[in-house]
């Protein structure tokens, strides 16, 4: 049950973010009245901020600045989801949740896109993320200084900590007391564990590896007007229950109640910058087949690691001929994915891994650099529970097809699965560029080139061995591993100097004082943590910085000098 029970802490939370109390209590999942009554700006209104993308970064930024009294419009290329009408409790039918505009992938280790790492519509990819919300470790912010690889952040863990704490309360996050990184507790106590999680705990215990339940952004018990989890196992298909956190229910309702506009189905095609003043003046976007221009005093791009660099590359001017924020040839570079091998083990007992949320139990025992090993940095291990279509991919990856494929699939209920997130290093050639191919809007599509380095391969190997050891220790008679990737971050990274990145520590694009990037693309390193919580915490911090400047009466130009 909730530890967040005292009237005082609830009052404090609601004074910061009332979203959970703005949802309906009648068994439906969307407050239609709130959406109908939403404030609507005119294209010709010069709003204080236009935000591009209503995902983890854009939604939190919009909510925070609306609370601070800013006039904010947030545009999203996809729909304004209604979980009742738009989402299904079905693996195949959830295709509409992903960004499926064309993209090209290349390099020596191309990264497939689509369902695994892209979102679309209000809530972004958090609509279909598993729900794991670990913090980064303090060491993640000084990897270059400490380990001689990757990059240092221009901010420290302590800069982000208060925002981690705030967002953990707002989602809210459930889990056991956390011993790794900066030790901390969670506002909600841990969820009960299903068969898959039991196997992980049993195997880890036998193998001498520490695990903890959580951290999962699924309320344990009711939270505001949100329902409790029903353990149906379809987290990755969008939570029809409103139990799992996504910005659609954790930040957008409060943003609307404080006068922000969410404008869905609006594909931004260009950030417009006036060369004479050196300032962004708004964005061009397509809606219902018509081109519009939304005027704004400032622009924040929050389109994630592929679309953010693409949009900035699609917005060149005479002065910024290589694209916005690309004066030092940094835009689109250092894009990262985590190596995410998943290992399954076969058990005599029925596990029925689909019968609980996929996110259950984690270990961060291997997160930090082990000086006795030839590789730097590490990995985390978490439960995952592939549904049948995804499970078939695991089996096919072993080389099975035809009768053996069917036999393994018939054995679905007997398998438990865990997955690793390996900290692959940022590399300059892992980059988004524009391809010759065009999308249906006539705009060049993104090309994402990705190649692994030796450290990456060693981490995958070590992580796989650790997972196989856990499942064998749990009594598995057979194990199988599939190599894959998870998450995207980087591509417009934060740096102390323009030579090393695209934005400064306040998310401001170098050289354009009123243009910001507030999403996962600013991350200089990725740790072995799922990125959603960190992206939200960064957005909350960015909003705090912007609001503070505005309160001091500084223009963006003055703020840069200050």
């Amino acid at each position: 049950m909730s530890r967040l029970q005292s009237p005082r802490s609830e009052r404090e939370l609601r004074a910061r973010n009332d979203s959970a109390w703005l949802l309906p209590t009648d068994g439906s999942r969307t407050n239609h009245r709130l959406r109908d009554d939403m404030r609507r700006f005119d294209d010709a209104d010069e709003v204080d901020l236009v935000v591009v993308g209503a995902g983890a970064g854009g939604s939190v930024l919009t909510q925070r600045l609306a609370r601070a009294g800013w006039r904010v419009v947030c545009l999203d290329a996809g729909p304004f989801w209604d979980p009742d009408a738009d989402w299904v409790s079905d693996e195949r039918g959830s295709h509409t949740l992903y960004w499926t505009d064309p993209r090209q992938i290349g390099g020596s280790d191309p990264v497939p896109m689509g369902s695994n790492n892209s979102g679309r519509g209000v809530g972004g990819s958090m609509v279909h993320y598993a729900g794991y919300t670990p913090r980064f470790h303090p060491s993640d912010f000084s990897v270059l200084s400490d380990d001689g690889v990757g990059a240092d952040w221009p901010i420290a863990y302590t800069d982000l900590r208060p925002f981690y704490e705030a967002i953990e309360q707002e989602l809210p996050v459930a889990g056991q007391d956390w011993p790794w990184g900066d030790p901390h507790s969670y506002p909600h106590s841990p969820h009960p564990v299903g068969g898959n999680g039991e196997i992980f705990q049993r195997g880890a215990l036998a193998a001498g590896i520490e695990t903890r339940v959580g951290p999962v952004a699924i309320a344990n018990g009711r939270f505001g007007h949100r329902s409790h989890c029903i353990y149906r196992g379809f987290c990755l298909q969008g939570c029809k229950v409103n139990a799992k956190a996504s910005p659609l229910i954790t930040h957008v309702p409060d943003a609307l109640a404080h006068g922000a506009e969410i404008r869905p189905d609006s594909m931004v095609t260009r950030v417009v910058v006036d060369d004479e003043s050196g300032r962004a003046t708004g964005v061009t976007y397509l809606r219902r087949g018509r081109e519009h221009f939304q005027r704004a005093r400032a622009v924040a791009v929050a389109g994630y690691s592929i679309e953010t660099p693409r949009l900035l590359l699609l917005s060149p001017t005479e002065r910024y001929a290589a694209g916005l924020g690309n004066d030092t040839d940094q835009l689109g570079r250092y894009l990262m994915v985590q190596g995410a091998p998943q290992t399954s083990g076969r058990f005599e007992d029925e596990i029925r891994a689909y019968k609980a949320p996929p996110p259950e139990v984690s270990s961060e025992q291997f997160y930090e650099t082990d000086p006795t090993k030839p590789y730097r940095r590490g990995w985390s291990i978490q439960n995952v529970s592939p549904l049948p279509i995804t499970w078939a991919e695991h089996v096919v990856a072993q080389g099975h097809w035809g009768a053996p494929l069917r036999e393994y699939l018939r054995d679905f209920v007997h398998w438990a699965t865990i997955g690793a997130l390996c900290e692959f290093l940022p590399q300059p050639a892992n980059r988004v560029t524009l391809a010759d191919e065009k999308d249906r809007h006539g705009l060049p599509i993104a090309h994402f080139s990705y190649s692994q380095c030796d450290n990456d391969r060693m981490l995958t190997q070590a992580a796989t061995e650790s997972m196989e050891a856990i499942l064998k220790a749990a009594g598995a008679s057979e194990v199988m591993t599939i190599d894959r990737y998870a998450h995207l971050v980087g591509g417009a990274r934060m740096a102390a100097r323009a030579e090393d990145g695209v934005v400064d520590a306040d998310h401001r694009v170098f050289g354009i004082p009123n243009l910001y990037v507030v999403d996962g693309s600013v991350l200089p390193t990725q740790g072995s943590a799922n990125p959603a919580l960190t992206i939200m915490a960064l957005a909350a911090r960015a909003a705090d910085r912007l609001a503070a400047q505005a309160r001091r009466g500084l223009t963006e130009q003055q703020a840069v000098r200050a």
């Binding site: 079905d90 369902s115 068969g195 029903i230 379809f234 029809k240 229950v241 078939a392 699939l409 679905f412």
Partner: protein, 249 residues
Amino acid sequence: MPFRPPHRHGVTPQGRGRFPGFDVLDSVDAWDDVTAGVVLRRLAHPADLAFFTPHEVSVAAPLLDLLLDQDEEPRVPVLELLDERLAVGETDGWHYDDLPEDGEAWRRTLAWLDDDAAERFDGARFAELDAGRQAALAQDVQTRSSEGQKWHGVSAERVWSLWTRYACTAFYSHPWAWNEIGFPGPAYPRGYLNVGVGARDHWEVADSVDRRPTPFAERVESARREHAALVERHHRAHLRAHHREGGTR
């Protein structure tokens, strides 16, 4: 519950399965209407083919049957489900920079498979070969995929992944396949009450085969032998033919 005529209860593809009496459609009343609509539509007679040409069908239909071991009725209409998807361009969006988008990639790779048939079996069309020879040609692509080799100039792994991804997505989206594997399908708004190792809810059915003293490893080995018997006779034959011609592709 929607009406179901006799003999349509607990259907599994080719009548294979381990969960006797289990039928996910018995739970339709416990599903939300949007999800029920999406799932029940898969039971309807498929639309006429709109994407593949007749010649492409002659390659794709036996290939898909082989990939999923659908050697008799009742079949999940994988070809039709796949055709419908490609006809409306419902892809994941991304494609490798050395392959065209998925629809064109399907056309191209089916043509290559037909070319292989002609090259290895005296000008025969893929459709004219018996299942064993067809399976041997498919196995060749899979072997190249496992070994990181190219096939007709592109990564065999990417081609194999394209075929199996589309085939498995169609097959394992079908309620008959869920009956076969004991997966209850949609779970909103009911959810589950009994979670944990060995725990079942009352609408779930125990694995019947596993209770018999037939270890899983033996069953898989038997499936492997059956599959290998299909492939290998011809695989050896065509390898000989291949060496005779001294050709590599």
